[in-house]
Amino acid sequence: MSGAEVLALNNIHKAFGGVVAIQDFSLNLKAGEVVALVGDNGAGKSTLIKIISGVYSPTSGDIELDGEKAGFRDASAAREKGIEVVYQDLALADQQPVYMNMFLGRELTKGPLNLLDKKRMRRETQELVDELDVRIPSASSTISNLSGGQRQGVAIARATHWASKLVLLDEPTAALGVAETARVEALIEQLKAKDLAILIISHSLDQVFRLSDRICVLRRGEQIGVRETAKTDKNEIVSMITGVA
């Protein structure tokens, strides 16, 4: 089941000085679709996500969101358009409570003095983690007291809360155990059910085959190909990743 086209990447190039990180990359993403981005270390996967989310701007090529050209100046511009990212190196503030992280940069205020509405942020956070079944002691828990899985749960819950179109996940389960990985995968299924478009980077082919509708392979910045998950197998993907037939 896939809906309207949300994101189109057309002929994206990115070079850091002399190093070409991405060359001639094109991809479309539809609402309710999960596309997996795979490739070896240094293939350019994280760079691509940062280009989509406005952290880097492409050297050439363009990005369309809902059919409209979208060159994001920075990460907040992309966020305003409904794009959320779950970063590989968790973008959480460790010494702050869960609810402040949930509303980081978008804190709710009240009254004439615009004071923080902590009560409401706490309540909404609690509702959200309950709904997504992210099991944390409380919305006021400090992030540093949570396990890796709980943290990733918070990061994904945050993305869910704010994303209206597209969620980008960069190795969301890389640091997690088996049970925690299963929980995060269940969360991702829930995002999909909400009709968001999802781009996920993962090194686990098992996971990729469980979650994705399509698989896009990147090798040293070059787009090797895109396959429908149902019509390919691990052997084909592995040989595309490694370049060994």
Binding site: S53, A93, Q95, L104, T109, L116, S138
Partner: protein, 317 residues
């Protein structure tokens, strides 16, 4: 019940230390120095009055440290602000003097801030340099002379005056802590300061203007130092280049003991107040004990060392 237990778990050791330390030192002096008048209302009020400038400086430093920066130059800012204000008051009315004093503080803070936030220089080195720079400027401004402050309205408001029989320095302390606490704990700016010190990358990708936060915290530090300068000038009815010179260690210790993390992301304005009062009690008690100045320095240094070690104890786990 569950609420209480989650409360208790949330009560963290570093924040609690200052309360226990405060009580312990208070009780110690109250008992050992009872006959020397430690507990008299006059002596206790005196402690608050004497610590008022340090408390105001400490509030500013809480913001800088929480954002992951440090300001070593606030002592020099105190002197330059107080001198500028005193000079201005010689030929201009009170509001001009006050604005000059505070303005100089904020401007020096902004100077630090621009170097740190936009030229990306480490605040430790920037403010180490400006500490020396402005200490020199304070000395050359008036050729080491002290400038008297004759304006009685000024010395009333910033020094010896009272409002409804509450000393003005107490009012400044309460006001400073109140406004500081509100800004720190209950505004978006305060949340952004903490996030910036905690994880600047996370703050950045969450849309927080990290450089601007860094600029503002150093301006707040400068502004607080400026106000502290006015309080010194008001209380002593004069300004001199030595003002604020010896406050660096005391204020940093007060802030750390008060539960503010040296590497950002965590802190407390109320804790800084208690830390500052604790340092004031220590000074006062050691003087009442009739220790030689050299012994006072040694004992104070040792106690600060212990206090800081205890309050940082579990932060490395």
């Amino acid at each position: 019940m569950t609420r209480l237990s989650s409360r208790l778990r949330g009560l963290d050791f570093q924040q609690a230390v200052v309360y226990f330390g405060f009580l312990a030192i208070f009780l110690f002096f109250a008992i050992t120095l009872y006959d020397d008048g430690f507990l008299t209302q006059r002596n206790l009020t005196n402690i608050v009055l004497q610590t008022a400038p340090a408390t105001i400086m400490a509030i500013g430093l809480v913001f800088a440290l929480s954002a992951g920066e440090i300001d070593l130059s606030f002592g020099s800012i105190v002197a330059v602000s107080a001198l500028s204000c005193a000079v201005a008051l010689q030929s201009f009315p009170l509001p001009v003097g006050v604005l000059v004093g505070l303005g100089v503080g904020v401007a020096i803070g902004a100077f630090n801030g621009v170097l740190v936030a936009y030229l990306k220089l480490p605040s430790f080195l920037v403010t180490l340099a400006t500490m020396g720079l402005f200490a020199g400027i304070a000395r050359s401004m008036t050729n080491l002379r002290s400038i008297p402050v004759m304006n009685e309205t000024f010395t009333g408001i910033f020094g010896s005056g009272k409002l409804f029989s509450v000393p003005s320095l107490v009012i400044w302390t309460v006001l400073g802590v109140g406004v500081g606490h509100l800004l720190y704990r209950h505004t978006r700016f305060g949340a952004h300061v903490l996030a910036t010190g905690d994880n600047p990358r996370a703050a950045q990708v969450s849309g927080i203007k990290v450089p601007r936060v860094r600029l503002y915290v150093l301006m707040i530090c400068g502004g607080c130092a400026g106000l502290a300068g006015l309080l010194y000038a008001g209380r002593l009815q004069a300004a001199k280049y030595t003002l604020g010179e010896s406050d660096l260690m005391t204020v940093i210790a007060a802030v750390i003991v008060g539960g503010t993390a040296l590497n950002g992301g965590k802190g407390s304005v109320v804790g800084a107040l208690l830390g500052s009062l604790l340092m004031g009690m220590l000074n006062n008690g050691l003087i009442l004990m009739n220790l030689k100045v050299s012994d006072q320095m040694i004992v104070r240094g040792l106690i600060i060392l212990i206090a800081v070690a205890v309050s940082l104890r579990d932060s490395s786990r």
